[in-house]
Amino acid sequence: MNFPADLKYSKSHEWIKMLDDTTALVGITDFAQSELGDLVFINLPQVGDAVTKEEAFCDVESVKAVSDVMSPVTGEVAEVNEELLDAPQLLNESPYEAWIAKITGITEFEELLDAAGYQALTEQQ
Protein backbone atom coordinates (compact mmCIF):
# COMPACT_ATOMS: atom_id res chain seq x y z
CA MET A 1 0.00 0.00 0.00
CA ASN A 2 1.33 3.38 -1.04
CA PHE A 3 1.12 6.58 1.09
CA PRO A 4 3.03 9.42 -0.63
CA ALA A 5 4.56 11.76 1.94
CA ASP A 6 3.81 14.97 0.03
CA LEU A 7 0.03 14.49 0.26
CA LYS A 8 -2.52 15.08 3.01
CA TYR A 9 -5.29 12.60 3.69
CA SER A 10 -8.88 12.64 4.94
CA LYS A 11 -10.36 10.06 7.28
CA SER A 12 -12.85 9.19 4.54
CA HIS A 13 -9.95 8.07 2.28
CA GLU A 14 -9.41 10.99 -0.08
CA TRP A 15 -5.97 12.51 -0.78
CA ILE A 16 -5.35 16.19 -1.31
CA LYS A 17 -2.38 17.82 -2.99
CA MET A 18 -1.96 21.58 -2.44
CA LEU A 19 -0.98 23.47 -5.58
CA ASP A 20 -0.96 26.83 -3.77
CA ASP A 21 -2.59 28.14 -0.57
CA THR A 22 -6.15 27.97 -1.88
CA THR A 23 -5.94 25.47 -4.77
CA ALA A 24 -5.65 21.69 -4.56
CA LEU A 25 -6.10 18.45 -6.44
CA VAL A 26 -8.32 15.81 -4.81
CA GLY A 27 -8.48 12.07 -5.47
CA ILE A 28 -9.09 8.76 -3.69
CA THR A 29 -6.34 6.87 -1.90
CA ASP A 30 -4.69 3.58 -2.75
CA PHE A 31 -6.44 2.08 0.29
CA ALA A 32 -9.82 3.37 -0.95
CA GLN A 33 -9.42 1.89 -4.43
CA SER A 34 -8.27 -1.42 -3.00
CA GLU A 35 -11.30 -1.61 -0.67
CA LEU A 36 -13.72 -0.63 -3.44
CA GLY A 37 -12.37 -3.09 -5.97
CA ASP A 38 -12.43 -2.56 -9.73
CA LEU A 39 -13.98 0.80 -10.49
CA VAL A 40 -16.31 0.87 -13.46
CA PHE A 41 -17.91 4.32 -13.36
CA ILE A 42 -17.34 7.79 -11.96
CA ASN A 43 -19.92 10.53 -11.61
CA LEU A 44 -17.75 13.64 -11.74
CA PRO A 45 -18.79 17.00 -10.28
CA GLN A 46 -19.27 19.93 -12.65
CA VAL A 47 -16.89 22.82 -13.06
CA GLY A 48 -18.28 25.67 -10.94
CA ASP A 49 -19.87 23.37 -8.35
CA ALA A 50 -19.49 24.62 -4.79
CA VAL A 51 -18.12 21.87 -2.55
CA THR A 52 -18.27 21.70 1.23
CA LYS A 53 -15.81 19.91 3.48
CA GLU A 54 -16.97 16.47 4.63
CA GLU A 55 -19.81 16.46 2.12
CA ALA A 56 -20.10 14.29 -0.99
CA PHE A 57 -19.08 15.95 -4.25
CA CYS A 58 -18.65 12.95 -6.53
CA ASP A 59 -19.47 9.25 -6.59
CA VAL A 60 -17.70 6.19 -7.86
CA GLU A 61 -19.08 2.80 -8.72
CA SER A 62 -17.24 -0.49 -8.40
CA VAL A 63 -18.48 -4.00 -9.10
CA LYS A 64 -19.40 -4.13 -5.41
CA ALA A 65 -21.09 -0.82 -4.68
CA VAL A 66 -21.60 2.86 -5.36
CA SER A 67 -19.71 5.09 -2.92
CA ASP A 68 -19.67 8.81 -2.29
CA VAL A 69 -16.39 10.69 -2.52
CA MET A 70 -16.27 13.36 0.18
CA SER A 71 -14.64 16.74 -0.26
CA PRO A 72 -11.85 17.41 2.24
CA VAL A 73 -12.22 21.16 1.67
CA THR A 74 -14.75 23.92 1.10
CA GLY A 75 -14.24 25.66 -2.23
CA GLU A 76 -15.22 25.54 -5.88
CA VAL A 77 -14.56 22.99 -8.61
CA ALA A 78 -12.21 24.60 -11.15
CA GLU A 79 -11.43 21.57 -13.27
CA VAL A 80 -12.38 17.89 -13.46
CA ASN A 81 -10.34 15.00 -14.79
CA GLU A 82 -12.50 14.00 -17.74
CA GLU A 83 -10.09 11.24 -18.68
CA LEU A 84 -11.63 9.21 -15.82
CA LEU A 85 -15.03 9.12 -17.55
CA ASP A 86 -13.72 6.74 -20.18
CA ALA A 87 -11.04 5.14 -18.04
CA PRO A 88 -12.23 4.78 -14.42
CA GLN A 89 -9.63 1.99 -14.07
CA LEU A 90 -7.00 4.74 -13.72
CA LEU A 91 -8.34 5.22 -10.19
CA ASN A 92 -7.26 1.61 -9.51
CA GLU A 93 -4.05 1.64 -11.51
CA SER A 94 -2.52 4.91 -10.33
CA PRO A 95 -4.73 6.43 -7.62
CA TYR A 96 -2.35 9.30 -6.86
CA GLU A 97 -2.07 10.41 -10.48
CA ALA A 98 -5.77 9.98 -11.22
CA TRP A 99 -6.90 13.22 -9.60
CA ILE A 100 -10.68 13.72 -9.65
CA ALA A 101 -11.08 17.48 -9.33
CA LYS A 102 -9.09 20.65 -8.93
CA ILE A 103 -10.64 22.80 -6.19
CA THR A 104 -9.95 26.54 -6.01
CA GLY A 105 -10.89 29.33 -3.61
CA ILE A 106 -10.48 26.99 -0.65
CA THR A 107 -11.79 28.60 2.52
CA GLU A 108 -11.91 25.65 4.90
CA PHE A 109 -10.18 22.33 5.45
CA GLU A 110 -11.37 19.33 7.39
CA GLU A 111 -8.90 17.92 9.90
CA LEU A 112 -6.40 16.25 7.58
CA LEU A 113 -3.85 13.55 8.34
CA ASP A 114 -0.26 13.26 7.16
CA ALA A 115 0.97 10.09 5.44
CA ALA A 116 2.02 8.38 8.68
CA GLY A 117 -1.23 9.28 10.45
CA TYR A 118 -3.30 8.03 7.52
CA GLN A 119 -1.34 4.81 7.24
CA ALA A 120 -2.00 4.19 10.93
CA LEU A 121 -5.72 4.77 10.33
CA THR A 122 -5.87 2.23 7.49
CA GLU A 123 -4.06 -0.34 9.58
CA GLN A 124 -6.80 -0.15 12.20
CA GLN A 125 -9.47 -0.92 9.58
Binding site: D38, V63, K64, Q89
Partner: protein
Amino acid sequence: MQLIFEKGAPGRHLSLLPPCDVPEVAPQRPRTEPLELPELSENELTRHYSALCKRVHGVNDGFYPLGSCTMKYNPKINEELAALPGFTQVHPLQPEETVQGCLEVYAQTEALLNEITGMDAMTFQPAAGAHGEFTGLLLIKAYHRHRGDTERTKIIVPDSAHGTNPASAVMAGFTVVNVPSGPDGCVDVEALAAAVGPDTAGLMLTNPNTVGIFDKNILEITRIIHEAGGLCYYDGANLNAVMGLVRPGDMGFDVIHLNLHKTFSTPHGGGGPGSGAVGCKAFLAPYLPGPVVRREGGGFRFAAPEHSIGRVKDFYGNFTVVVKALVYLLTLGKEGIPEAAENAVLNANYMMARLREKYAMAYDQLCMHEFVMSLENLKEETGVSAMDIAKGLLDNGIHPPTMYFPLIVHEALMVEPTETESKETLDEACEVFLRLWEQAHTDPQALHDAPVTTPVRRLDEVEAARHPVLRYAGA
Protein backbone atom coordinates in the same frame (compact mmCIF):
# COMPACT_ATOMS: atom_id res chain seq x y z
CA MET B 1 -27.33 -20.15 -28.04
CA GLN B 2 -29.37 -18.63 -30.85
CA LEU B 3 -31.89 -15.86 -30.28
CA ILE B 4 -35.48 -16.59 -31.17
CA PHE B 5 -35.05 -14.15 -34.07
CA GLU B 6 -32.32 -16.34 -35.53
CA LYS B 7 -34.48 -19.44 -35.51
CA GLY B 8 -37.27 -20.59 -37.80
CA ALA B 9 -37.94 -19.59 -41.39
CA PRO B 10 -40.35 -17.25 -43.20
CA GLY B 11 -43.84 -18.70 -43.41
CA ARG B 12 -43.38 -21.16 -40.54
CA HIS B 13 -46.11 -20.90 -37.93
CA LEU B 14 -47.91 -22.62 -35.09
CA SER B 15 -51.40 -23.16 -33.79
CA LEU B 16 -51.02 -21.56 -30.36
CA LEU B 17 -52.29 -18.16 -31.40
CA PRO B 18 -56.06 -17.92 -31.78
CA PRO B 19 -57.48 -16.61 -35.05
CA CYS B 20 -57.90 -12.85 -35.13
CA ASP B 21 -61.49 -12.06 -34.15
CA VAL B 22 -61.44 -8.27 -34.38
CA PRO B 23 -62.08 -6.49 -37.68
CA GLU B 24 -59.04 -5.24 -39.50
CA VAL B 25 -58.75 -1.49 -39.88
CA ALA B 26 -56.62 0.56 -42.22
CA PRO B 27 -54.16 2.47 -40.02
CA GLN B 28 -53.80 6.19 -40.69
CA ARG B 29 -50.03 5.90 -40.95
CA PRO B 30 -49.28 2.36 -42.09
CA ARG B 31 -45.82 0.84 -41.68
CA THR B 32 -43.69 0.92 -44.75
CA GLU B 33 -41.75 -2.19 -43.76
CA PRO B 34 -43.15 -5.36 -42.20
CA LEU B 35 -42.32 -6.04 -38.52
CA GLU B 36 -39.42 -8.42 -38.10
CA LEU B 37 -41.12 -11.06 -35.99
CA PRO B 38 -39.82 -14.57 -35.44
CA GLU B 39 -41.61 -17.27 -37.43
CA LEU B 40 -41.32 -20.64 -35.73
CA SER B 41 -43.04 -23.98 -35.51
CA GLU B 42 -44.56 -24.97 -32.17
CA ASN B 43 -41.82 -27.54 -31.66
CA GLU B 44 -39.06 -24.97 -32.20
CA LEU B 45 -40.78 -22.54 -29.87
CA THR B 46 -41.17 -24.95 -26.94
CA ARG B 47 -37.58 -26.17 -27.33
CA HIS B 48 -36.34 -22.61 -27.38
CA TYR B 49 -37.99 -21.78 -24.06
CA SER B 50 -37.04 -25.11 -22.48
CA ALA B 51 -33.43 -24.40 -23.43
CA LEU B 52 -33.67 -20.94 -21.86
CA CYS B 53 -35.10 -22.47 -18.66
CA LYS B 54 -32.10 -24.78 -18.37
CA ARG B 55 -29.75 -21.82 -18.44
CA VAL B 56 -31.18 -20.04 -15.42
CA HIS B 57 -31.65 -20.75 -11.74
CA GLY B 58 -35.06 -19.97 -10.32
CA VAL B 59 -37.02 -20.71 -7.16
CA ASN B 60 -38.29 -23.86 -8.88
CA ASP B 61 -34.73 -25.13 -9.40
CA GLY B 62 -33.29 -24.95 -5.92
CA PHE B 63 -32.45 -23.05 -2.77
CA TYR B 64 -32.36 -19.29 -3.24
CA PRO B 65 -31.33 -17.59 0.04
CA LEU B 66 -31.07 -14.03 -1.26
CA GLY B 67 -30.90 -11.88 1.88
CA SER B 68 -32.93 -8.70 2.22
CA CYS B 69 -34.99 -9.75 -0.78
CA THR B 70 -37.35 -12.29 0.76
CA MET B 71 -37.43 -14.48 -2.33
CA LYS B 72 -40.18 -16.63 -0.89
CA TYR B 73 -42.08 -19.34 -2.65
CA ASN B 74 -45.05 -18.13 -4.70
CA PRO B 75 -47.90 -20.58 -4.12
CA LYS B 76 -49.48 -21.72 -7.37
CA ILE B 77 -52.99 -21.07 -6.00
CA ASN B 78 -52.18 -17.34 -6.22
CA GLU B 79 -51.72 -17.65 -9.97
CA GLU B 80 -54.82 -19.77 -10.39
CA LEU B 81 -57.10 -17.26 -8.70
CA ALA B 82 -55.48 -14.20 -10.28
CA ALA B 83 -56.20 -15.79 -13.66
CA LEU B 84 -59.96 -15.96 -13.05
CA PRO B 85 -61.79 -14.25 -15.92
CA GLY B 86 -63.49 -11.84 -13.50
CA PHE B 87 -60.05 -10.44 -12.72
CA THR B 88 -58.46 -10.63 -16.15
CA GLN B 89 -61.32 -9.80 -18.51
CA VAL B 90 -61.86 -6.31 -17.13
CA HIS B 91 -60.79 -2.88 -18.28
CA PRO B 92 -59.67 -0.10 -15.95
CA LEU B 93 -62.06 2.33 -17.61
CA GLN B 94 -65.14 0.17 -16.98
CA PRO B 95 -67.86 1.79 -14.84
CA GLU B 96 -67.41 1.10 -11.11
CA GLU B 97 -70.68 -0.80 -10.80
CA THR B 98 -69.41 -3.44 -13.26
CA VAL B 99 -66.15 -4.15 -11.37
CA GLN B 100 -67.40 -4.28 -7.79
CA GLY B 101 -65.55 -7.58 -7.20
CA CYS B 102 -62.24 -6.02 -8.18
CA LEU B 103 -62.87 -3.04 -5.94
CA GLU B 104 -63.69 -5.41 -3.13
CA VAL B 105 -60.29 -7.08 -3.62
CA TYR B 106 -58.63 -3.71 -2.95
CA ALA B 107 -60.86 -2.97 0.04
CA GLN B 108 -60.35 -6.39 1.59
CA THR B 109 -56.58 -6.44 1.03
CA GLU B 110 -56.31 -2.94 2.45
CA ALA B 111 -58.24 -3.92 5.57
CA LEU B 112 -56.10 -7.01 6.18
CA LEU B 113 -52.79 -5.23 5.57
CA ASN B 114 -53.84 -2.31 7.76
CA GLU B 115 -54.52 -4.77 10.54
CA ILE B 116 -51.12 -6.45 10.06
CA THR B 117 -49.18 -3.18 9.95
CA GLY B 118 -51.18 -0.97 12.33
CA MET B 119 -51.96 1.56 9.63
CA ASP B 120 -55.31 3.22 8.82
CA ALA B 121 -55.27 3.68 5.04
CA MET B 122 -53.41 2.34 2.05
CA THR B 123 -52.75 2.93 -1.65
CA PHE B 124 -51.88 0.18 -4.10
CA GLN B 125 -50.65 2.48 -6.86
CA PRO B 126 -46.86 2.24 -6.40
CA ALA B 127 -45.45 -0.46 -8.68
CA ALA B 128 -42.56 -1.55 -6.45
CA GLY B 129 -40.68 -0.86 -3.23
CA ALA B 130 -38.63 2.18 -4.23
CA HIS B 131 -41.71 3.64 -5.90
CA GLY B 132 -43.49 3.15 -2.56
CA GLU B 133 -40.65 4.90 -0.71
CA PHE B 134 -40.92 7.84 -3.09
CA THR B 135 -44.70 7.98 -2.59
CA GLY B 136 -44.40 7.75 1.20
CA LEU B 137 -41.86 10.58 1.26
CA LEU B 138 -44.16 12.74 -0.86
CA LEU B 139 -46.85 12.16 1.80
CA ILE B 140 -44.43 13.40 4.48
CA LYS B 141 -43.56 16.39 2.32
CA ALA B 142 -47.23 17.21 1.66
CA TYR B 143 -48.00 16.93 5.38
CA HIS B 144 -45.31 19.44 6.41
CA ARG B 145 -46.17 21.79 3.57
CA HIS B 146 -49.86 21.68 4.39
CA ARG B 147 -49.02 22.75 7.94
CA GLY B 148 -47.10 25.68 6.47
CA ASP B 149 -43.77 24.29 7.67
CA THR B 150 -41.35 24.59 4.76
CA GLU B 151 -38.12 24.36 6.79
CA ARG B 152 -38.16 20.58 7.05
CA THR B 153 -35.86 19.55 4.23
CA LYS B 154 -33.88 16.67 5.71
CA ILE B 155 -34.52 12.95 5.87
CA ILE B 156 -32.48 10.89 8.30
CA VAL B 157 -31.30 7.50 7.02
CA PRO B 158 -29.15 5.04 8.99
CA ASP B 159 -26.00 3.78 7.25
CA SER B 160 -27.35 0.23 7.21
CA ALA B 161 -30.33 1.26 5.07
CA HIS B 162 -31.18 -0.13 1.68
CA GLY B 163 -29.52 1.98 -1.01
CA THR B 164 -32.94 2.91 -2.31
CA ASN B 165 -33.77 4.87 0.89
CA PRO B 166 -31.34 7.77 0.38
CA ALA B 167 -32.00 7.64 -3.37
CA SER B 168 -35.77 7.97 -2.85
CA ALA B 169 -35.26 10.83 -0.40
CA VAL B 170 -33.19 12.73 -2.94
CA MET B 171 -35.74 11.99 -5.68
CA ALA B 172 -38.45 13.44 -3.43
CA GLY B 173 -36.41 16.64 -3.03
CA PHE B 174 -34.96 16.06 0.43
CA THR B 175 -31.38 16.23 1.68
CA VAL B 176 -30.14 13.01 3.27
CA VAL B 177 -28.54 12.92 6.69
CA ASN B 178 -26.71 9.69 7.45
CA VAL B 179 -26.61 8.34 10.98
CA PRO B 180 -24.16 5.59 11.95
CA SER B 181 -24.99 2.20 13.44
CA GLY B 182 -23.49 1.08 16.71
CA PRO B 183 -21.33 -2.04 17.03
CA ASP B 184 -24.53 -4.07 17.58
CA GLY B 185 -25.82 -3.11 14.12
CA CYS B 186 -28.61 -0.95 15.57
CA VAL B 187 -29.10 2.80 15.19
CA ASP B 188 -26.74 4.84 17.36
CA VAL B 189 -29.42 6.59 19.43
CA GLU B 190 -27.12 9.36 20.65
CA ALA B 191 -26.00 10.16 17.11
CA LEU B 192 -29.65 10.20 16.07
CA ALA B 193 -30.61 12.60 18.85
CA ALA B 194 -27.76 14.89 17.78
CA ALA B 195 -28.86 14.77 14.13
CA VAL B 196 -32.50 15.85 14.56
CA GLY B 197 -33.72 19.43 14.58
CA PRO B 198 -36.26 21.86 13.14
CA ASP B 199 -35.08 20.85 9.64
CA THR B 200 -35.92 17.16 10.18
CA ALA B 201 -38.73 16.07 7.88
CA GLY B 202 -38.52 12.44 8.84
CA LEU B 203 -36.63 9.20 9.33
CA MET B 204 -36.48 6.14 7.09
CA LEU B 205 -35.88 2.85 8.83
CA THR B 206 -36.10 -0.87 8.22
CA ASN B 207 -36.84 -2.99 11.26
CA PRO B 208 -35.61 -5.69 11.51
CA ASN B 209 -32.71 -3.88 9.94
CA THR B 210 -30.47 -4.82 7.07
CA VAL B 211 -28.23 -7.00 9.20
CA GLY B 212 -31.21 -9.05 10.38
CA ILE B 213 -31.50 -7.55 13.86
CA PHE B 214 -34.61 -6.12 15.46
CA ASP B 215 -33.68 -2.66 16.73
CA LYS B 216 -34.52 -2.86 20.43
CA ASN B 217 -34.52 0.93 20.74
CA ILE B 218 -37.24 1.38 18.16
CA LEU B 219 -39.71 3.15 20.47
CA GLU B 220 -37.03 5.60 21.58
CA ILE B 221 -35.96 6.16 17.97
CA THR B 222 -39.45 7.05 16.77
CA ARG B 223 -40.00 9.20 19.88
CA ILE B 224 -36.84 11.23 19.15
CA ILE B 225 -38.05 11.89 15.60
CA HIS B 226 -41.60 12.77 16.68
CA GLU B 227 -40.38 15.13 19.41
CA ALA B 228 -38.26 16.92 16.80
CA GLY B 229 -41.43 17.34 14.70
CA GLY B 230 -40.54 14.75 12.05
CA LEU B 231 -42.41 11.69 10.80
CA CYS B 232 -41.25 8.08 10.74
CA TYR B 233 -41.16 6.01 7.55
CA TYR B 234 -41.00 2.21 7.74
CA ASP B 235 -39.35 0.40 4.86
CA GLY B 236 -41.27 -2.88 4.72
CA ALA B 237 -38.43 -4.82 3.06
CA ASN B 238 -37.97 -6.97 6.16
CA LEU B 239 -41.55 -7.24 7.37
CA ASN B 240 -41.45 -10.98 6.72
CA ALA B 241 -39.70 -11.52 10.04
CA VAL B 242 -42.41 -9.85 12.10
CA MET B 243 -45.67 -9.94 10.13
CA GLY B 244 -48.58 -10.70 12.38
CA LEU B 245 -46.32 -10.45 15.44
CA VAL B 246 -45.31 -6.79 15.74
CA ARG B 247 -46.91 -3.86 13.96
CA PRO B 248 -44.92 -0.95 12.51
CA GLY B 249 -47.82 1.29 13.56
CA ASP B 250 -47.23 0.28 17.18
CA MET B 251 -43.49 0.91 16.84
CA GLY B 252 -44.32 4.55 16.13
CA PHE B 253 -44.21 4.61 12.35
CA ASP B 254 -46.53 6.98 10.49
CA VAL B 255 -46.11 5.74 6.94
CA ILE B 256 -44.85 2.46 5.51
CA HIS B 257 -44.46 0.63 2.27
CA LEU B 258 -44.94 -3.08 1.83
CA ASN B 259 -43.40 -5.14 -0.91
CA LEU B 260 -46.27 -7.44 -1.78
CA HIS B 261 -43.70 -9.20 -4.00
CA LYS B 262 -41.49 -9.95 -1.00
CA THR B 263 -43.62 -10.42 2.06
CA PHE B 264 -46.91 -11.48 0.53
CA SER B 265 -45.66 -14.07 -1.97
CA THR B 266 -46.37 -12.38 -5.28
CA PRO B 267 -43.65 -12.95 -7.90
CA HIS B 268 -40.38 -11.13 -7.35
CA GLY B 269 -37.67 -10.52 -9.85
CA GLY B 270 -37.74 -11.25 -13.55
CA GLY B 271 -40.02 -8.30 -14.09
CA GLY B 272 -42.54 -9.15 -11.37
CA PRO B 273 -44.46 -6.98 -11.73
CA GLY B 274 -44.22 -5.77 -8.16
CA SER B 275 -46.48 -3.86 -5.84
CA GLY B 276 -45.18 -1.36 -3.29
CA ALA B 277 -48.36 -0.65 -1.37
CA VAL B 278 -48.08 2.41 0.89
CA GLY B 279 -49.94 2.55 4.19
CA CYS B 280 -50.28 5.47 6.55
CA LYS B 281 -51.87 6.67 9.76
CA ALA B 282 -55.22 8.46 9.48
CA PHE B 283 -53.71 11.96 9.63
CA LEU B 284 -51.78 11.28 6.40
CA ALA B 285 -54.68 9.61 4.55
CA PRO B 286 -55.92 12.88 2.98
CA TYR B 287 -52.63 13.12 1.05
CA LEU B 288 -52.67 9.60 -0.46
CA PRO B 289 -52.51 9.25 -4.23
CA GLY B 290 -55.96 8.98 -5.74
CA PRO B 291 -58.14 7.26 -6.51
CA VAL B 292 -58.60 5.06 -3.47
CA VAL B 293 -61.39 2.53 -2.90
CA ARG B 294 -64.10 3.51 -0.41
CA ARG B 295 -66.88 1.37 0.91
CA GLU B 296 -70.24 3.05 0.41
CA GLY B 297 -73.64 1.61 1.17
CA GLY B 298 -73.53 -2.03 0.12
CA GLY B 299 -70.82 -1.49 -2.51
CA PHE B 300 -67.52 0.16 -3.36
CA ARG B 301 -66.46 3.25 -5.30
CA PHE B 302 -63.32 5.13 -6.24
CA ALA B 303 -62.71 8.39 -4.42
CA ALA B 304 -60.03 11.09 -4.47
CA PRO B 305 -58.46 11.91 -1.10
CA GLU B 306 -59.00 15.53 -0.09
CA HIS B 307 -55.41 16.84 -0.40
CA SER B 308 -54.12 14.07 -2.67
CA ILE B 309 -50.53 14.33 -3.94
CA GLY B 310 -51.98 13.06 -7.23
CA ARG B 311 -51.39 9.87 -9.13
CA VAL B 312 -48.07 8.05 -8.96
CA LYS B 313 -49.06 5.46 -11.58
CA ASP B 314 -51.71 4.92 -14.21
CA PHE B 315 -55.02 3.61 -12.94
CA TYR B 316 -54.82 1.64 -9.66
CA GLY B 317 -51.45 -0.13 -9.66
CA ASN B 318 -50.72 -3.74 -10.61
CA PHE B 319 -54.13 -5.18 -9.86
CA THR B 320 -53.62 -8.93 -10.28
CA VAL B 321 -50.56 -8.69 -8.01
CA VAL B 322 -52.90 -7.43 -5.30
CA VAL B 323 -55.21 -10.37 -6.04
CA LYS B 324 -52.30 -12.78 -5.47
CA ALA B 325 -51.40 -11.09 -2.18
CA LEU B 326 -55.01 -11.35 -1.02
CA VAL B 327 -55.08 -15.05 -1.88
CA TYR B 328 -51.93 -15.50 0.21
CA LEU B 329 -53.43 -13.58 3.13
CA LEU B 330 -56.65 -15.59 3.03
CA THR B 331 -54.85 -18.91 2.56
CA LEU B 332 -52.61 -18.37 5.58
CA GLY B 333 -55.14 -16.54 7.72
CA LYS B 334 -54.70 -14.98 11.13
CA GLU B 335 -52.76 -17.98 12.45
CA GLY B 336 -50.72 -18.68 9.33
CA ILE B 337 -49.27 -15.21 8.81
CA PRO B 338 -47.43 -15.04 12.17
CA GLU B 339 -46.49 -18.71 11.81
CA ALA B 340 -44.78 -17.95 8.49
CA ALA B 341 -42.83 -15.15 10.17
CA GLU B 342 -41.81 -17.42 13.04
CA ASN B 343 -40.63 -20.12 10.66
CA ALA B 344 -38.65 -17.58 8.64
CA VAL B 345 -36.86 -16.54 11.85
CA LEU B 346 -36.42 -20.15 12.97
CA ASN B 347 -34.93 -21.22 9.64
CA ALA B 348 -32.46 -18.34 9.62
CA ASN B 349 -31.35 -19.06 13.19
CA TYR B 350 -31.03 -22.77 12.43
CA MET B 351 -28.70 -22.10 9.50
CA MET B 352 -26.77 -19.48 11.44
CA ALA B 353 -26.24 -21.90 14.32
CA ARG B 354 -24.92 -24.60 12.00
CA LEU B 355 -22.66 -22.29 9.97
CA ARG B 356 -21.26 -20.50 13.03
CA GLU B 357 -19.05 -23.56 13.50
CA LYS B 358 -16.83 -22.25 10.66
CA TYR B 359 -18.09 -18.93 9.36
CA ALA B 360 -17.70 -15.69 11.31
CA MET B 361 -21.02 -13.98 11.95
CA ALA B 362 -20.96 -10.20 11.58
CA TYR B 363 -23.36 -9.90 14.53
CA ASP B 364 -23.14 -13.04 16.60
CA GLN B 365 -26.49 -13.05 18.37
CA LEU B 366 -29.99 -14.34 17.69
CA CYS B 367 -31.05 -13.04 14.30
CA MET B 368 -34.42 -12.40 12.73
CA HIS B 369 -35.18 -13.65 9.21
CA GLU B 370 -31.64 -13.25 7.85
CA PHE B 371 -28.05 -13.15 9.02
CA VAL B 372 -24.80 -11.70 7.74
CA MET B 373 -21.51 -13.56 7.63
CA SER B 374 -18.18 -11.80 7.20
CA LEU B 375 -15.64 -13.75 5.16
CA GLU B 376 -12.91 -11.19 5.84
CA ASN B 377 -10.84 -13.63 7.89
CA LEU B 378 -11.30 -16.44 5.40
CA LYS B 379 -10.07 -14.17 2.65
CA GLU B 380 -7.02 -13.19 4.66
CA GLU B 381 -6.17 -16.80 5.52
CA THR B 382 -6.86 -18.46 2.19
CA GLY B 383 -7.37 -15.76 -0.44
CA VAL B 384 -10.89 -17.11 -1.01
CA SER B 385 -13.38 -14.23 -1.09
CA ALA B 386 -17.12 -14.01 -0.58
CA MET B 387 -17.36 -13.88 -4.38
CA ASP B 388 -15.46 -17.19 -4.70
CA ILE B 389 -17.72 -18.93 -2.16
CA ALA B 390 -20.76 -17.55 -4.00
CA LYS B 391 -19.47 -18.98 -7.27
CA GLY B 392 -18.79 -22.29 -5.54
CA LEU B 393 -22.41 -22.40 -4.39
CA LEU B 394 -23.52 -22.16 -8.02
CA ASP B 395 -21.69 -25.40 -8.79
CA ASN B 396 -23.70 -27.01 -6.00
CA GLY B 397 -27.08 -25.95 -7.34
CA ILE B 398 -27.60 -23.15 -4.83
CA HIS B 399 -28.21 -19.56 -5.81
CA PRO B 400 -25.69 -17.42 -3.91
CA PRO B 401 -26.93 -15.24 -1.06
CA THR B 402 -26.74 -11.46 -1.32
CA MET B 403 -23.09 -10.44 -1.60
CA TYR B 404 -21.11 -7.42 -0.43
CA PHE B 405 -24.19 -5.99 1.26
CA PRO B 406 -24.69 -4.32 3.63
CA LEU B 407 -21.65 -2.17 2.99
CA ILE B 408 -20.84 -1.86 6.69
CA VAL B 409 -19.76 -5.53 6.76
CA HIS B 410 -16.63 -6.52 4.78
CA GLU B 411 -16.78 -9.61 2.52
CA ALA B 412 -20.42 -9.99 3.45
CA LEU B 413 -22.71 -12.86 2.56
CA MET B 414 -26.28 -12.26 3.66
CA VAL B 415 -28.44 -15.34 3.96
CA GLU B 416 -32.24 -15.36 4.11
CA PRO B 417 -33.62 -18.88 3.79
CA THR B 418 -37.34 -17.92 4.16
CA GLU B 419 -40.05 -19.97 5.84
CA THR B 420 -40.91 -22.35 3.02
CA GLU B 421 -37.63 -24.30 2.95
CA SER B 422 -37.61 -27.70 4.64
CA LYS B 423 -35.07 -28.79 7.26
CA GLU B 424 -33.61 -31.18 4.67
CA THR B 425 -32.97 -28.31 2.26
CA LEU B 426 -31.42 -26.21 5.00
CA ASP B 427 -29.19 -29.09 6.10
CA GLU B 428 -28.08 -29.74 2.57
CA ALA B 429 -27.27 -26.07 2.06
CA CYS B 430 -25.34 -25.91 5.35
CA GLU B 431 -23.29 -28.92 4.33
CA VAL B 432 -22.44 -27.26 1.03
CA PHE B 433 -21.37 -24.07 2.84
CA LEU B 434 -19.20 -26.07 5.27
CA ARG B 435 -17.68 -28.14 2.47
CA LEU B 436 -16.75 -24.99 0.58
CA TRP B 437 -15.10 -23.68 3.74
CA GLU B 438 -12.91 -26.80 3.84
CA GLN B 439 -12.18 -26.49 0.15
CA ALA B 440 -11.05 -22.87 0.65
CA HIS B 441 -8.30 -24.24 2.88
CA THR B 442 -7.38 -27.35 0.86
CA ASP B 443 -7.86 -26.20 -2.74
CA PRO B 444 -8.46 -22.45 -2.95
CA GLN B 445 -7.67 -22.41 -6.68
CA ALA B 446 -10.74 -24.57 -7.38
CA LEU B 447 -12.91 -21.87 -5.83
CA HIS B 448 -11.16 -19.10 -7.76
CA ASP B 449 -12.03 -21.13 -10.89
CA ALA B 450 -15.68 -21.75 -9.95
CA PRO B 451 -18.25 -22.09 -11.38
CA VAL B 452 -17.48 -24.95 -13.72
CA THR B 453 -20.92 -26.54 -14.13
CA THR B 454 -22.93 -23.49 -15.20
CA PRO B 455 -23.72 -22.57 -18.85
CA VAL B 456 -21.19 -19.76 -18.61
CA ARG B 457 -18.11 -19.75 -16.38
CA ARG B 458 -16.91 -16.84 -14.23
CA LEU B 459 -18.18 -13.63 -15.79
CA ASP B 460 -15.91 -10.66 -16.29
CA GLU B 461 -18.06 -8.22 -14.35
CA VAL B 462 -15.55 -5.42 -14.72
CA GLU B 463 -15.43 -5.68 -18.49
CA ALA B 464 -19.23 -6.02 -18.60
CA ALA B 465 -19.66 -2.83 -16.57
CA ARG B 466 -16.95 -0.84 -18.33
CA HIS B 467 -17.83 -1.89 -21.87
CA PRO B 468 -21.41 -3.15 -21.87
CA VAL B 469 -22.66 -4.56 -25.18
CA LEU B 470 -26.25 -3.41 -25.25
CA ARG B 471 -27.17 -3.92 -28.88
CA TYR B 472 -27.85 -7.17 -30.68
CA ALA B 473 -25.24 -7.21 -33.42
CA GLY B 474 -27.48 -9.07 -35.87
CA ALA B 475 -30.29 -6.48 -35.79
